[in-house]
């Protein structure tokens, strides 16, 4: 059914389709080659995973700027545990994920218990944990992992399907399940719509915020593991600025910065659009700085559309 409503709801997928066609033509087909598609799926996997937690955060009209730092810290800590401390790979991963979740909880304490605005609280923890990562690594890369560690970022199933892409799909399924099938999802939308009314409807808003920031930390941590495995070496700058890519994906995917509106499927589209945009620009040899300009504009346009439609709804 091609009616107006259908088009409106799926506009984001049409944008994606248009993007694919443009890049496919511009790159003489390289863009849609099997190899490149696999490549894209690897590239998007880590910020796709991080986008799930960010979706929850933005749904309640907050923001989490700390996830880039969490990704960096997880890289450094997990690498340090495996290489310097000789800890078993799975134990190192588990410790890293617990730590990432813990940082999320620290953010939640600042936001929910103390009442610091999310923008400032998570900006503070961004700075702190970036510093901690430097202190641990001394700014030097850490490398020399077990070859088994490649499972998170480099291995493929059946020789073509990247495991990290499978991991991302599982994470999206989990995120979608939380959002649509559990009462937590209902609470997220309620709090994002009107925090006071949510509290007066019996939702313990602060507890839900703890959960949300913990999720955000956890998914960022998992994204960090994937990235570490892919790069096969930990760098103290690896996560810098990643939160902006992730926020762009989420907002482009239709999650309103005013909270209360958005869906997981939209975010998946947002992730794919940004992922293929980055890849397409690399294929076309666009410089990194030009890429920054383009991505910044995309973020502004995505938020702009959200704000304009909000204005129109008000009238």
């Amino acid at each position: 059914m091609l009616n107006a409503n259908f088009l409106k709801q799926n506009a984001i997928w049409l944008v994606f389709l248009a993007e694919i066609i443009i890049f496919a033509i511009a790159s003489d087909g390289t863009f849609i080659s099997g190899r490149n598609i696999i490549n894209i799926s690897r590239q998007v996997s880590y910020y796709g995973i991080a986008a799930i937690g960010m979706t929850f955060v933005i749904l309640i009209a907050d923001i989490d700027l700390s996830i880039g730092s969490i990704i960096t810290l997880v890289n450094v800590v997990c690498a340090w545990l495996m290489v310097a401390a000789g800890v078993n790979m799975w134990v190192a991963v588990a410790i890293s994920l617990i730590m990432a979740t813990g940082i999320g909880l620290i953010n939640a304490v600042m936001v929910a218990a103390v009442g610091i605005p999310a923008l400032i609280a998570t900006f503070a923890s961004q700075t702190v944990f970036e510093g901690v990562a430097y202190l641990i690594s001394g700014g030097r890369p850490i490398a020399g992992f077990d070859s088994d560690f490649g499972i998170f970022g480099r291995w493929s199933a059946f020789d073509f399907l990247p495991i990290c892409a499978i991991l991302m799909i599982i994470c999206f399924a989990v995120g979608s399940f939380i959002l649509n099938k559990t009462y937590f999802g209902r609470y997220f939308y309620a709090i994002g719509g009107n925090e006071e009314a949510a509290e007066l409807s019996g939702i313990r808003v602060n507890r839900v915020k703890y959960l949300i920031y913990a999720f955000s930390g956890f998914f960022a941590g998992l994204a960090g593991i994937v990235l570490l495995s892919r790069a096969n070496s930990a760098q103290s700058t690896v996560g810098k600025g990643l939160e902006f890519d992730v926020i762009t994906c989420v907002v482009l995917g239709g999650v309103s910065v005013y909270g209360g509106v958005g869906s997981m499927s939209g975010v998946i589209a947002g992730v794919l659009i940004i992922g293929s945009l980055t890849n397409g620009m690399i294929l076309m040899d666009v410089s990194e700085y030009t890429q920054m300009v383009v991505k910044g504009l995309v973020l502004a346009v995505a938020v702009g559309i959200d704000c304009m439609s909000k204005k129109r709804r008000k009238r």
Binding site: K181, T182, Y183, F184, R186, Y187, Y189, A190, G192, G193, N194, E196, A197, A198, E199, L200, S201, G202, I203, R204, G260, V261, R315
Partner: protein, 504 residues
């Protein structure tokens, strides 16, 4: 023809995507008259007003001001042509003085400097003209709502407004302030200012207006000469049918033996030393002026604000709810005064709103039983007759009365035994009010208890089994049903009682 009218709206139509807010409304305002504009909520009064000031652009129709014809207004055009609106929310800046507010955005200057003295002099003149006693130097945040409204009016007059539109001007005011506002309105009429006066309170319309225009469902119904109209006739015209009674009858179902809620010397959230008892099957009215501490008391009982001392006994057990969640689990519910800000979750569906307090009860391992979710919502939609095409409709698209029903449905689903209503029919139109009253009756008839805060004297007396009056955060009186008397309630509400003197 045109010469007699200062403002003419001809066949105004306003469409939004999917909705027609105004179908064909015509309004003519004569020079120096007060025209009462009435209609139920959602009839289109506000939209019509916004078309006059340029806040909304009509889809079709003509607007004539002093004979000059416009297709559409803009805020600037409205100001140039002397059309001003006093909205329910004021545009005052609390940190500035009365005089500065009067000249907000167009201060009197002396060279580069703002000439404060001249502004204060001019403000004094403007206030004197309207016989209002405001010190121009006073900061606006220190003034009462009534005086803030006067500043808005003075500002409009100072800017040479010929047409003054007042949207529910008495809603935020105390009865004394309302009297003062009436005097100003009458003074303005004498000075030749034309006024459109919008109000839910028909007695005000009768007292002030020369003519009354009624609109219903976005359509012009009729215009009456005030002395020739009657209340019943107006209600019938507004609602489109006859309302025989204002309050549905209820046989007393108070169970005097069962005390559901007892407060002993409760202090906190501003309130001091409040003691009361509420029985099963009883509607206990909580009267008093706005700001007397009634909402504050409700917040304590509902766990939204902490109490400092005293005790709350619910069904024989002392309780101390620390959050709304705890209160709800005990069986206490609150239907708040500000429906849109505190009551309903506007951006989500009816189904989700009704289930919100009980999601954890209908979930296993945090996964919602969606069949139950739907059944429960369906059950309460039928039981309290929420009018909606589907349960997936967003609550913001419902009328005020239906929103109130959704909130009530939520508390019935949560199986709450004590329901606190804070201004249950504020901003709800006449027809829907009756239905809310019927629902309150059904609640107590089924053995539940209701604590009802109301600033409407008639509603308070019409619905309550007993009334307790608060003034300045203290209890000042209690009246049994046979003692109900509006003068007495007003006396208690203004704090003129022996009891109050003792406690001072």
């Amino acid at each position: 023809m045109s010469e007699n009218y200062v403002l003419e709206l001809e066949h105004i139509r306003k469409e939004y995507p999917g909705v027609v807010a105004l179908k064909d409304v015509t309004l003519r305002l004569r020079k120096g008259e007060v025209l009462g504009l009435i209609g139920e909520n959602g009839a289109g009064k506000s939209t019509l007003i916004k078309c006059c000031t340029g806040a909304e652009i009509p889809t079709s129709g003509k607007i004539r001001v002093n004979g000059k014809e416009f297709d559409r207004m803009s805020p600037q055009l409205a100001a140039e042509n002397g059309v001003a609106v006093i909205y329910q929310e004021f545009n005052n800046v609390g940190e500035l003085s009365a005089a500065e507010n009067l000249f907000l955005g167009r201060p009197i200057r002396k060279g580069m400097k703002i000439d404060r003295a001249a502004m204060e002099r001019e403000a004094q003149k403007a206030f004197d003209q309207l016989h209002i006693k405001i010190n121009p130097k006073e900061l606006v945040k220190n003034l009462t709502v009534g005086y803030q409204q006067m500043i808005e009016i003075a500002k409009a007059i100072q800017q040479n407004a010929q047409v003054l539109i007042m949207d529910e001007p008495s809603a935020p005011l105390t009865s004394n302030e309302v009297e003062n506002m009436f005097k100003v309105v009458e003074l303005l009429r004498k000075k030749g200012v034309s006024i459109i006066y919008i109000s839910h309170r028909l007695e005000e319309i009768f007292r002030l207006s020369d003519r009354i225009e009624v609109i219903r469902d976005g359509e012009y119904v009729t215009t009456l000469i005030t002395p020739e109209a009657t209340v019943d006739e107006l209600i019938k015209l507004m609602v489109g049918r006859e309302l025989t009674q204002k309050y549905p009858p209820r046989k007393s179902c108070v169970n005097k033996d069962k005390v559901v809620l007892e407060l002993k010397n409760v202090t906190g959230n501003g309130d001091k030393d409040i003691s009361l008892q509420l029985h099963a099957g009883e509607v206990l009215g909580l009267g008093g002026l706005v700001g007397a501490g009634r909402t504050e008391l409700a917040e304590i009982i509902f766990g939204a604000k902490p109490k400092e001392s005293g005790s709350i006994i619910f069904n024989g057990k002392e309780i101390n709810p620390q959050s709304p969640r705890e209160a709800i689990d005990l069986g206490i519910a609150l239907v708040p005064e500000d429906r849109k800000r505190h009551g309903a979750l506007l951006g989500i569906s009816i189904k989700n709103n009704i289930n919100m307090p009980i999601y954890e009860r209908i979930s296993k391992l945090s996964v919602i039983n969606s069949r139950k979710e739907k059944e429960i919502a369906e059950k309460y939609r039928e039981e309290i007759q929420i009018k909606c095409p589907t349960l997936n409709q967003l609550v913001k698209n419902l009328s005020g009365g239906n929103q109130q029903k959704v909130i009530l449905g939520k508390w019935l689903a949560a199986d709450c035994e004590l329901i606190i209503f804070d201004e249950p029919t504020r901003g709800i139109d006449v027809g829907a009010k009756y239905e809310i009253y019927k629902l309150i009756n059904e609640l107590v008839e089924s053995g539940r208890s209701v604590l009802m805060i109301s600033s409407e004297m008639e509603e308070l007396m019409g619905m309550s089994d007993r009334i307790i009056v608060l003034a300045e955060n203290r209890m000042t009186g209690e009246l049994q049903k046979e003692e109900f008397d509006s003068d007495k309630i007003m006396q208690y509400a203004s704090g003129i009682t022996d009891g109050a003197k003792e406690s001072l």
